[in-house]
Amino acid sequence: MGEDNNNVVLLDFWPSSYGMRVKIALQEKGVSYECRQEDFEAKSSLLLEMNPIHKMIPVLIHNGKPICESLNIVEYIDEVWNHKPSLLPSDPYKRSQARFWGNYIDKNVYSRGKKVWNGKVEEKEERKKQFIECLKMLEEELGEKPYFGGDEFGYVDVALVPFTSWFYTYETLGNLSIEAFVPKLVGWTKRCMEKQSVAKSLPHPHKIYDFALKYREAHGYE
């Protein structure tokens, strides 16, 4: 890719774990990009033009062409900027497993996590249980490895680590201790935070918490 033809713009919303995934991937590859914040109450014409189907962030715009869906974007980044570090493994079976767990995280973590801090009071215990089950499944997959990718930080780590910026919010508003249930996963979180690409891309958990409180107030939750 020629340096003079490498315009990269990311349409983002700072509390979004999906947006953070893309930032981490771009940081890992050392790609310069312009980050534009979207306002969900007033979506920009650029967002509506670049993602007319879903009208959601993140959208990566590379030389004017949009790529949507965060894990799709992460794969795209890995393929275009194909120097090391690689995010997806080269072995086909390991790649399939990485995609499987990325997909599992997509289907479960956000939706179950949201119900913990935003759900009806009477269903709270059941929702907490489901969220913890999901984290335990992921901790089992991690096993004794330093990262989901093995010795190297990779695709599944990128897929999951942004949600950890929300752990303080889940714990405080959900009244639970994540570390008590999944200590290895919390250990993995700390290890990931030592990486510059992650530390630079994740907002401080307290900022996320303040956002969550404002969101709940604006939407009439207790």
Binding site: C68, R95, R99
Partner: protein, 294 residues
Amino acid sequence: MSMYIAKSRLSYIHTNIHRTQEIVCSQIQLFNMTPKILSKDICGRSWNTARCYILDPFVSLACRKTKSEVKLLGAWPSPFVMRARIALNIKSVSYEFLEETFQPKSPLLLDSNPVYKKVPVLINQDKPICESLIIVQYVDDVWSSGPSILPSEPYDRAIARFWATYLDDKWYPTLRSVRGAKGEDDRKKLITEVGEGLTLLEDALNKTSRGKDFFGGDQIGYLDIAFGCFLGWLRVTESLTGVKLLDQVKTPCLVKWAERFCAHGAVKDVMPQTEKLVEFAKMLMAKMAASTPN
């Protein structure tokens, strides 16, 4: 006994053929077995048959037809299972198809897909791969010498993946809910949404095919497989509702594409007949009605 182990023993013998007699003798001691003739096929050359015979359980396992090395656990009505079959057919991979029993779910299914307990599951050299689109990509990665399934350019790949996710997350769930719609208004609304989705896909076909026959260009590719597998159930919905969804007027390119797709060599033997699917759908609907309290 793993096929993987069998194959590596076989390749050891291939590369160490001059030492094979020693191996043979040591195996006879190791296994303490009555020897049996080793097939000429295995080593590609004949044994000095007057001398040595072996029974190597690993090698004789490798001698069995390698069709069973690749297994696909599936169900004939499932569009997701169809995706895996089409991908394997494109690559001319021999595989053993295992029709899942359900009720109860087989031990093989529960063992190989403990997270979701769903078909399809591809089992290659005893390793399971789950989720249809992940299986298709895996098949493309492993059998890389066959025709490509994913496009070669990263941007085109991203577009193909985007539409496949759209189909799975939005379009197909809407199509499914048409059959279970409560009331005529609800059904009409859902049918409209399905139609709007098809208009988007018509546009996507025009953009990605670049004037060729398929989403993938000259040959069927990832997005053809991801979408084409739903054609059977689309026809079922048309049959049950009496509404033409794939419309010659609104989506003329998709209509032609659907005919070409269904006639393709990799597809036609694994696409279930619409009549059989309609019967199956009616049976499912009857079961659901029977189990739902009034």
